[in-house]
């Protein structure tokens, strides 16, 4: 009897790993990457495993992480958000132009910017749910419009200065840990709880994998989906503000490449395009993998062509051979 119970426990654990949020293949990929880095360090003596490199990677990873978390929610809902570039850039510009070097304004403006991002996300969500516009097109259209509006507003010349407080948040550390990382960890824990523990996370997952059951179970499907886009927009805008702090520069195109990278991070982490699956842990690992690749490529002086090919091949390998998010 006891033996049987023990067996059951084992089975449950095995089942959980197999069915767990993160595919074992992803852990394997991360492990392989770390081993590759170790070998590289041993052979060529590059300083991969140094505190400062790790912290740098972690800080960069936070920025992508914010966006990738939002993207994860949207992908889980069955969508895709291509408007993050526009949203990040807008957040970036808003931060500098409204705060204009005044430390006292950092938090109010951060809040305001997040609201703007959330509003843009809501437009995405409304187009997708109320009108059934395919997410790809809805978010693409919205992103073009937002870019246009931002450029009209700035006349192409970003104004304002990034205040010291924001720079400190973007680049400074607390007890040896970069603020960005601390903030990201808090946000990630919040989202981990949201996705894995909260009723919203459960409802999002169910809505993504079977919208019909969701509706019949009394879930307000549209609200769940719109919320996902809203959160993605809010996180994007927030990331835009932090990006201004990180670089100290307001840039009309600060968000470039974040769309593709955030989608890649989420999908590498097990979020399936089409909806239903995805997790914070997975996305975090996915983002880490992407950034480690970049970091290793630079440490190894790989030229741009190899960097691009490696990135493409990693996506193919991860999704083609280890991926669970197959269609």
């Amino acid at each position: 009897m006891a033996a049987r119970k023990k067996l059951n426990v084992w089975f449950t654990m095995l089942e959980r790993l197999k069915r767990g949020a993160v595919s074992p293949g992803l852990y394997a990929a991360l492990l392989a990457l770390i081993v590759a880095a170790l070998v590289m360090q041993a052979v060529t003596g590059v300083s991969f495993f140094t505190m400062s490199n790790m912290l740098n990677v972690a800080r960069n990873f936070s920025m992508l992480g914010f966006v990738a978390l939002g993207q994860t929610l949207v992908i889980m809902s069955g969508g895709l958000d291509l408007s993050v570039v526009a949203v990040i850039s807008t957040g970036n510009i808003l931060a500098a132009s409204l705060i204009n070097g005044n430390d006292a304004l950092v938090f109010p403006v951060l809040l305001f910017t997040i609201v703007v991002g959330a509003a843009i996300g809501t437009v995405n969500g409304l187009l997708v749910t109320k009108r059934g516009v395919p997410p790809f097109i809805a978010t693409l259209g919205v992103s073009i419009v937002v870019n246009g509006l931002r450029l009209i507003a700035t006349g192409g010349i970003p104004k304002g200065n990034v205040p010291e407080l924001l720079k400190e948040m973007g680049t400074g550390s607390f007890l040896g840990l970069p603020w960005m990382v601390i903030i990201f960890v808090i946000v990630a824990i919040f989202f981990y709880i949201l996705l894995a523990k909260s009723s919203y996370g459960r409802r999002l997952r169910v809505t993504g994998s079977n919208p019909e059951v969701a509706v019949l179970s009394g879930i307000n499907k549209d609200r769940v989906i719109i919320t996902a886009y809203l959160i993605c927009g809010a996180l994007g805008a927030g990331a835009g503000v932090f990006l201004a702090g990180y670089t100290g520069i307001a840039d009309n195109w600060a968000g470039n490449e974040f769309d593709i990278n955030s989608i890649a991070a989420a999908v590498l982490g097990g979020a399936a395009i089409g909806g239903g699956s995805g997790s914070v842990q997975g996305t975090v690992i996915g983002s880490i993998i992407l950034l480690l690749i970049t970091n290793l490529a630079i440490l190894a002086h790989l030229p741009i062509q190899s960097q691009m090919m490696v990135k493409g091949l990693v996506i193919i390998l991860a999704l083609g051979f280890f991926g669970r998010g197959k269609k």
């Binding site: 590059v46 300083s47 140094t50 400062s52 490199n53 740098n56 960069n60 920025m63 109320k130 009108r131 450029l151 006349g155 192409g156 010349i157 970003p158 104004k159 304002g160 200065n161 680049t171 990006l243 990180y246 670089t247 100290g248 520069i249 307001a250 840039d251 009309n252 195109w253 600060a254 470039n256 490449e257 970049t294 970091n295 630079i298 440490l299 002086h301 741009i304």
Partner: protein
């Protein structure tokens, strides 16, 4: 709800189109000594282009013969630029200036325009054809060379440097890089630790430079083809607690502010937005029937630390272009 949304969307679209018409209101065709000119621009996505436009407009205003001008925007796409050039020709311009997206990928359109009998001025980039009235250019190899020379001298011909380029495959970035490489190859004392493309993006630059700082315990100098990269690179140095090193860039005010504030040697080589004014000057001459040279090589002075201090505008936007603001105030980009 749905109906309302549709109505709003249609109204918005129609209003915008209406506004577009209004904004673009017609003007009478040009008389004999009155010229209508067209500018096929590559893109308008950044402040440098705004200054380019401001200089253009200031110069146009200085030439009353030009009664009307059109500007098209190719969105950085050569195919769109070819269509734009055809559109401008169809509108019947008396002269055309072209800022190429990718010079060698619009040659047929340039030739077509030239063969249609109007003066065609290409400026700002290189292009490999003779079928044009004049190429007003700044030597981009020289751009990179000049920066590299300064850096090599500043380091006393000896030191380890990193190189940061713009977008891989972009003509401007590649020509500047080639020019710089020439100099460094000729200077055996200069060791190039690494070269990476940073896409003229501050965030990307910082990420890359942070990794480089970890890989290389000693970096003595930064060659970057733009201030938008040397500036965040220096910030990365600062944050890592490393000594700030000599660097190169272009005349971006934010970079100039930073280096003059930190009092660190730097060299700005202008990618001057005044080229557009030069192009207009040459175009007017050509339209008036004066003979113009096939090639006008505009040369600009690089700015060392002293010059930077003189030209920097600490009170203005980071995205101001140092030294390019010598035009009547009404034409300056609004801030």
């Amino acid at each position: 709800m749905k109906k309302g949304l549709s109505l709003i969307l249609i109204t918005l679209l129609m209003l915008s189109l209406g506004a577009a018409v209004f904004a673009g209101g017609q003007q009478d065709a040009a008389g004999k000594d009155e010229f209508v000119i067209g500018w096929s621009n590559a893109g308008m996505g950044d402040s440098w282009r705004q200054f380019l436009k401001a200089n253009f407009e200031a110069e146009v205003a200085a030439n009353p013969e030009i009664v009307k001008y059109y500007i098209s925007d190719a969105n950085e796409r050569p195919e769109k630029q070819i269509a734009d050039i055809d559109d401008l020709l169809a509108k019947g311009v008396d002269g055309l200036i072209i800022y190429p997206t990718v010079g060698d990928a619009i040659i047929p359109a340039v030739e077509r325009a030239y063969e249609s009998g109007i003066p065609v001025i290409v400026f700002g980039g290189s292009i490999n054809t003779d079928s044009l009235t004049c190429l007003v250019t700044q030597d981009l190899y020289e751009f990179g060379r000049s920066q590299a020379k300064w850096l090599a001298e500043e380091l006393g011909g000896k030191g380890k440097i990193i190189m940061l380029s713009g977008i891989a495959g972009n003509t401007t970035a590649e020509e500047r890089l080639a020019g710089a490489r020439e100099v460094f190859d000729a200077n055996p004392g200069i060791e190039v630790l690494d070269h990476q493309y940073c896409d003229w993006s501050a965030a990307k630059t910082k990420t890359i430079v942070e990794a480089m700082l970890n890989a290389f315990p000693e970096i003595d100098g930064i060659w970057a083809d733009s201030g938008l990269m040397s500036w965040p690179a220096l910030q990365a140095f600062e944050e890592a607690g490393r000594k700030l090193v000599p660097s190169t860039g272009d005349q971006l005010n934010g970079y100039a502010k930073y280096v003059s504030e930190k009092n660190v040697p730097a060299y700005l080589y202008p990618m001057s937005t005044r080229l557009s004014a030069e192009a207009v000057k040459v175009l007017v001459a050509a339209m008036k029937g004066e003979t113009v040279d096939k090639k006008v090589a505009a040369s600009f002075e690089g700015m060392g630390p002293e010059a930077i201090k003189k030209f920097v505008k600490p009170e203005l936007s980071d995205w101001w272009w140092v030294g390019d603001d010598q035009m009547p105030a009404e034409f300056l980009p609004r801030l």
